[in-house]
Symmetry: C2
């Protein structure tokens, strides 16, 4: 059954996987200047992120927005998705009173900018209303458009935000929609089918939604206590109390709301996949290392991962320190770890592991002579100690050892194994396996 195991992580039947949204910017937060459609947003836009949910539907003790993915809470991913958009001026996160300290810690620890936390109300609409009011309090310019989003929809992309903001300014209100997955039915009070709706006429109302500041303020001023208590749909309030008919915009499937326990696994998988598309191989320039790196590039490419081969991280190549999440250091005939230590130092200097755990793989190519003399020339304890220290700084270090050989078939088998192990380590990002020296 061997063939069925290959590339299981990304599902073996998945050669043409669609791209996930670019949730991991290569530039610094706030420096994006992407302007979809060639035009820019020339009016102030702010964001309200209700994050007061209690996590009932996942069956977890921790609310979903504070669940940790690769060491970082979900809410931080969502904040990051907005923070990197240059034309968004500020983000107000609305959290339950008891989570205010936690939220403040998160903002500090992950160095979020543009963010304020305000306490929520007893219902969704009361919380959003608090958030909208807080936008008027700040020192910054009053926004023209307010985007409302959910803390538990981390994968929103700039293109959709742009469309929502523009349509909201034009129309007063705009919202993202998705086709219905299931037929919707009306039930009798006794639990029987009353009638089913014609699926094509209806849509699921999703987030983000956008409103002009005036429309959303007016809607919350005029709406009833019953709306505050039982309502869930902002577009409905805009229609009923301001006569504003929202423009509906179809969003991508990644908009979905992390709701059930299975969604946590789905979100983690999207994050891991986005971090695992490419890696950078550092050869040191030696001929043997370059030969190995080129062979690896081909073999890992067949496993759907792109490798860039570079001699070092200096000069022009220092840019990889700002854009890559995975590094492979090839060392030839040198059993000391100095080269990989240098990579770790560079990564720390670049503060690269702040938002995501980095993977560093040390591939040690030993001469066939060494093999017969000592069997295993690297002291396992050395790499384990180095890895334990790196893990504290959010860098996952692993080792792979292979032996030079003139036997072509054996060599190719070894290279293939290095490729498979590399791909698995990068995709799985397992903290338990750091410091291991694996054999190829």
């Amino acid at each position: 059954m061997e063939d069925n195991h290959i590339n299981m992580q990304s599902h073996s039947c998945d050669p043409d996987r669609p791209a996930h949204p670019g949730i991991f910017p290569t530039r610094e937060a706030g420096k994006s200047d992407h302007q979809p459609g060639g035009s820019s947003v020339d009016f102030p836009v702010s964001v309200v992120l209700p994050a007061g949910g209690t996590g009932e539907r996942t069956g977890l003790q921790t609310p979903k927005q504070f669940c940790s993915f690769l060491g970082r809470p979900l809410i931080s991913y969502t904040i990051q998705a907005f923070e990197r958009v240059s034309w968004i001026q500020s983000i107000v996160v609305v959290v339950a009173k008891e989570n205010m300290d936690l939220m403040t810690d998160i903002v500090k620890r992950f160095q979020h900018k543009k963010v304020r936390a305000v306490p929520g109300g007893s219902t969704r609409h009361r919380s959003i209303c608090n958030g909208v009011r807080a936008l008027g309090d700040g020192e910054e310019e009053r926004p023209k458009v307010v985007i409302i989003h959910d803390a538990v929809r981390p994968f929103v992309d700039e293109d959709l935000l742009y469309k929502i903001a523009m349509a909201a300014k034009e129309q007063g209100a705009a919202g993202a929609i998705r086709p219905l997955v299931s037929t919707v039915i009306a039930t009798t009070s006794e639990g029987y089918l009353d009638h089913s709706l014609e699926r094509a006429k209806y849509r699921a109302s999703e987030m983000p939604q956008g409103f002009t500041y005036d429309v959303i303020c007016q809607a919350y001023q005029k709406c009833s206590e019953s709306d505050f208590e039982f309502g869930t749909e902002c577009l409905h309030l805009a229609l009923q109390y301001c006569g504003t008919t929202a423009k509906l915009i179809q969003g991508p499937p990644t908009l979905w709301k992390v709701t059930y326990k299975r969604d946590l696994a789905a979100a983690e998988s999207i994050i891991k996949e986005t971090l695992s598309r490419s890696a950078c191989v550092i050869t040191g320039g030696s001929e043997q290392a370059v030969t190995l790196a080129d062979a690896l590039q081909k073999a890992v490419g067949a496993l759907d991962m792109e490798l860039d081969v570079i001699p070092d991280l200096m000069g022009e190549n220092a840019r990889y320190l700002l854009k890559e999440w995975n590094f492979i250091q090839v060392s030839v005939n040198r059993s000391c770890l100095s080269e990989v230590e240098a990579v770790l130092t560079d990564l720390e200097a670049a503060n690269r592991a702040l938002l995501h755990p980095l993977v560093v793989i040390w591939v040690h190519l030993s001469g066939s002579d060494e093999l017969s003399v000592s069997g295993r020339e690297v002291e396992p304890a050395a790499i384990m100690d180095l890895a334990s220290a790196a893990k504290l700084r959010n860098i996952l270090l692993y080792g792979i050892q292979l032996h030079q050989t003139k036997d072509t078939e054996r060599w190719e088998k070894s290279v293939l194994r290095v490729a498979e192990i590399t791909s698995a380590l990068i995709r799985e990002r397992s903290p338990a396996l750091v410091g291991q020296l694996l054999q190829a």
Copy 2:
């Protein structure tokens, strides 16, 4: 950031995770005698599984129902969920003509019983109709109740099937429902909000659904070409053409339909989690091994995995060969692999790896004396060769090595590392890492 990495696989904030349905029976297929509510189903029930989808919404080339999870297509998991229910007499899978051979291969390879494949029609209703007609053709008794389910909802449990079957017999029709996750809105033809529905009055119609054979046959006899062409809801046909009002039954969240790419990751995660709840430690009976096993039991328990400690797989303990997916063989001061080879032989004899890949971990506890003499006394090539052979038979073999020491702190650290590595290997089930001898 070390603390954030612990137990990431099952989400660090998740101490009270709800159980997933028991999709992996411990008995042989077809031998279940579970009778929810204490009563049995005393009428013939058959199942129609439409599996003709083309996978458009996942963006994959392979339709979802044929996507491979741990080496087995999704449709096989769904078939298994029905096959293990004793009171279900037969299952008709409806597949596109071009996939008939593939389906036949799947049934043969995974030794499914009770299953026939029939070719589908051009729409969902035509396919289901073909399946229902095929039920009348067989040699077996004509069913009293027909359950219709989706091939891409693999996690249906017996309890819900029972409720659906009983309600269908009583009422003529029954269907599973779930609360709506998003507000449903009606749109104008120009893409604006028309109105939003009051969420509490509506439900999502899911699968399974059940009908008496007479109702579903009559519905398909009477319904129009337009229904066949554009309709999606069987409950609607029963209501419109037979005047049968379906009983609606709320199902668990695991009922969901694998629709988007993210759902593939969610499904894989549920399967892996279900396989990773427990493991069985075989000690050979030596005092040192038992001491280690007991310490491991405690440490792995803290990582949310249950360990049973047994001396061997003989007599009463042979039952573990029929119910466990993960085995840990502890060997003391013996650098040969004979004990783990014996476990592999037993597992193969039990045909245990037919439906799921098994994990076997060889934990080698070496005396502190050996350490100073040879450094590493097990030849890595030996376990790699054994693992390569085992992988072909769907068994994933890994090794972990630790050294006996009188230094308590060092010993406890080693045991903790064995626990973390064990837990990670079992949860990740990575084929790329088989044959590695990891250091604890």
